[in-house]
């Protein structure tokens, strides 16, 4: 989120907020003792872990992100029903296949989110990201990347790639502005 670090003792404000709410949810209470303990944990944990973290791109458009989340949740709902029907239907009719999707994203975090949404949505499971990051050096890290996905029932490769790119990747590009 676009909450810049203003104070030294609070390096990642959004993560602190998240930790605080997760703590209260885990304990299922808003008792004063737990609120105080949650605040202490929300300040101390980011302070300790902050130096280990690699820098990730900021979410610059939180409301766009929220809208995208709603769309993905809706897609999970429809995809679940679709896959359930395909599983119960005749197995012989299914046309499984591998598809390579060229990515416009470069940073690790957006690619991870994209791969996860692809896994959770329409009859596809993401398998690999090519080329392997370990084999790349320095400047090469910005080269064209591919996402290999396995499709349960492949009708038309090109339309599928188009759908993934416009429906899931374009919003992510806007959200992270990269």
């Amino acid at each position: 989120m676009r909450l810049e670090a203003k104070y030294k003792w609070l390096p990642t404000p959004f993560r602190s907020l998240l930790l605080f709410s997760v703590w209260l949810l885990l304990n299922n209470t808003v008792a004063l003792g737990h609120v105080i303990l949650g605040i202490v944990l929300a300040i101390v944990i980011p302070l300790i872990t902050h130096p280990f973290r690699t820098k990730q791109p900021l979410v610059v458009r939180p409301f766009r992100a929220l809208r995208h989340l709603m769309l993905v949740l809706y897609d999970i709902l429809t995809a679940n029903i679709e896959v359930a029907i395909k599983i119960l239907g005749p197995t012989k009719k299914l046309k499984p296949g591998f598809v390579k999707v060229p990515l416009d994203l470069h940073e690790a975090m957006p690619i991870t989110i994209l791969a996860s949404t692809v896994s959770l949505t329409p009859g596809t499971v993401s398998a690999e990201v090519y080329p392997w990051p370990e084999t790349l050096e320095g400047e090469q890290a910005d080269c064209q990347k591919y996402l290999l996905i396995h499709v349960l029932d492949l009708d038309d490769e090109q339309t599928l790639i188009e759908t993934i790119k416009s429906r899931y990747e374009a919003p992510l590009k806007e959200i992270f502005e990269c």
Partner: protein, 108 residues
Amino acid sequence: MDIVISILLLMGGVLVLVGSIGLVKMPDFFMRLHGPTKATTLGMACLLFAAMAHYSQYGDGLSLKEILISLFLLITAPISGYMLIKSAIHHRIDSTDKTTGKDKIEED
């Protein structure tokens, strides 16, 4: 309220069952992965919503920690699926003959 909880429980049970049927029925490893990564997520969500409704109704006060469980499920399900399929590719597990685009897998 009881009816809503029952319907949610039933739907969740059916979806998890369908996911498991997919696990048994599909011909190869890659297709088997589709059931557990998808049908089961929604099934679990239904069960958790049922639990939330039940405990909010009959327990003491609102129960929200089920949201956390579904959140963690949403995060971990694709990752475990990804790890499974990655190791399958690494071990060169065969897929059914009609699978298209096998040449897109790169050797490592």
